[in-house]
């Protein structure tokens, strides 16, 4: 990893180009962690909820950074939004991912939703619906590793790792340890498909 000082715009064998490497991701998450702490004046009342699958390891890493900065362990959970999606009926029934709300619940807390890529905004809309059925937080904020634009709903992120202007024909692939064995954000040139990455 350390032997790649400038991975930007490197073209890989599969036609993808890496826009963030492991160290870029680490720096972005460190900055996001500090920004969340700054905005909320500390880590009390915070709950981090990752959206499966890639949002969960991101939320855990942000919590680790916060623990090293503030010395407070922020509760981390996961929130599956599958059943709240507006395109549920358009595809075969999808496998559910785990929803784990931390023991303290979210009532009266500031929930920070964490996801890998912000695209149409529809996932976040579904997540907001899911949150209302779990409890009533004091506020909801959104942290994403990559904002690739093309919003279809009036939704914006509070904390962004990298703004990544993309065309609709491109796909953004986020790989994270230990899930994918490597940390990277890549852009793939492709025709628009209805595949998983295109839906993000």
């Amino acid at each position: 990893m350390c032997a790649q000082p400038a991975a930007q715009h490197d073209h890989e064998d599969d036609g993808s180009r890496t826009v963030l490497d492991a160290r870029d991701i680490t720096r972005a998450l460190t900055r996001i962690s500090h920004e969340i702490l700054e905005r909320n004046r500390g880590a009390s009342d915070l709950v981090l909820l990752g959206i499966p699958s890639r949002g969960v390891p991101l939320a855990e890493r942000i919590a680790e950074r916060m623990a090293s900065v503030e010395g407070v362990q922020v509760p981390v959970g996961s929130l599956d939004v599958t059943m709240y999606r507006d395109d549920l009926r358009l595809k075969p029934a999808r496998t559910l991912m785990p929803t784990e709300i931390p023991p303290g619940g979210i009532d009266g807390k500031v929930v920070v939703l964490v996801d890998d890529v912000l695209y149409s905004g529809r996932t976040i809309r579904a997540a907001l619906d899911a949150i209302t059925e779990v409890g009533r937080p004091k506020g909801v904020q959104l942290a994403v590793l990559v904002d690739r634009g093309h919003r279809e709903l009036p939704i914006r992120a509070d904390f962004v790792g990298k703004n990544l202007p993309t065309s609709l024909a491109e796909r953004v692939r986020v790989s994270l340890e230990p899930h994918d064995g490597v940390d990277a954000v890549q852009i793939l040139e492709t025709t628009p498909t209805h595949g998983k990455e295109a839906a993000r």
Binding site: M83, A93, L96, D129, E133
Partner: protein, 320 residues
């Protein structure tokens, strides 16, 4: 998954494991303040019950309602069915009302299959028990209960687990569905019953059979007791209830021979004092009440996987 759930044999191992893992997520809903999910909003589920049932109908109704589906209950008593309407005409009525799923319980083996494959209805058909044939959602909830209790000490699967199913196998749709499903999931099933209460052709089920309860249960990881279905009996299957109870009932003495982790199950309704004594039914090993809780989660999973998307969930075992 197939569009209908008619038999436990319709489920591949991937399908069955998908139902179990989905049910696990559904079960966590019970801990939330709002026990409702929007997945089936605007869909209609019809409970079509030609035979008496309490827990299965209520369980399906709770499952459909927690997924925000509209539920129509249709029972034979007090409807046109008691005036002599045929299954076909009832089905055409349901079709005209726009049912997305029909959950059917019928006294005749094969009625759900007829409903699903006759072209009368376009909806998904879920078998909630047909005659002495099958009861696949009961098998799924039993497997789910075993998986929750036995899975953690067995690598998360039921592979190689020994399951004893004891009692009136002949009249039991639960036993047949369980035998089929548990075999798919890798468990080793032993049916224990008097010779008169084992069905013809049981040797083709791929399970062990035994007449000796005391020889089987010390090795079992789960013991499932079945009710003696006297309403389906018209002959002498055993000399007296007391003799049956002595030889095939689970009492405190027999329970003491079980391994420490072994669970005791019963699909209900149970007849205390016949196939199971009260002290066993109320003991720490008994998961009979939990089976009912799990029944709602499993039926939610089945309804979600059949109706939640544009078509049933895909699994690796599907031909696409």
């Amino acid at each position: 998954m197939k569009r209908h759930l008619l038999s436990a044999a319709d489920l591949t191992r991937e399908d069955a494991e998908l139902v179990l893992s989905t049910a696990d997520e559904m079960r966590s809903l019970a801990d939330r303040p709002i026990k409702k999910l929007p997945a089936l909003r605007g869909r209609t589920v019809v409970n079509l019950f030609f035979e008496d049932s309490t827990r299965t109908r209520i369980s399906f109704e709770a499952a459909a309602k927690r997924l925000s589906a509209d539920v129509i209950n249709f029972s034979a008593k007090g409807s046109s069915l008691s005036k002599g309407e045929s299954l076909k005409d009832t089905a055409l009525t349901l079709e005209a009302m726009g049912a997305d799923a029909v959950v059917i319980r019928h006294g005749a083996s094969g009625a759900p299959h007829r409903l699903a494959h006759s072209g009368w209805v376009r909806s998904s058909v879920v078998n909630a028990g047909d005659g002495t044939h099958e009861h696949p959602t009961q098998a799924l909830l039993d497997a789910f209960t075993m998986w929750r209790h036995l899975g953690p000490r067995n690598g998360g699967t039921l592979d190689g687990q020994r399951i004893a199913i004891v009692g009136d196998v002949l009249h039991s749709r639960v036993a047949r569905s369980n035998a089929l499903l548990l075999r798919t999931l890798g468990a080793e099933v032993t049916l224990v019953a008097p010779p008169t209460l084992l069905p013809v052709g049981v040797d083709t089920w791929g399970v062990e059979t035994s007449y000796d309860l005391d020889g089987v249960i010390p090795k079992a990881d789960a013991v499932m007791m079945l009710r003696v279905q006297r309403e389906r009996m018209n002959g002498g299957f055993f000399p007296t209830a007391r003799e049956y109870s002595r030889r095939y009932g689970l009492d405190g003495r027999r329970m003491a021979t079980l391994q420490d982790h072994t669970i005791v199950m019963h699909p209900g309704p149970m007849v205390r004092g016949m196939e199971i004594t009260a002290d066993v039914a109320d003991s720490d090993r008994s998961v009979i009440v939990e089976q009912v809780t799990n029944g709602v989660a499993v039926r939610m999973a089945v309804l979600y996987l059949l109706l939640g998307g544009s078509e049933p969930a895909h699994t690796e075992g599907d031909d696409l």
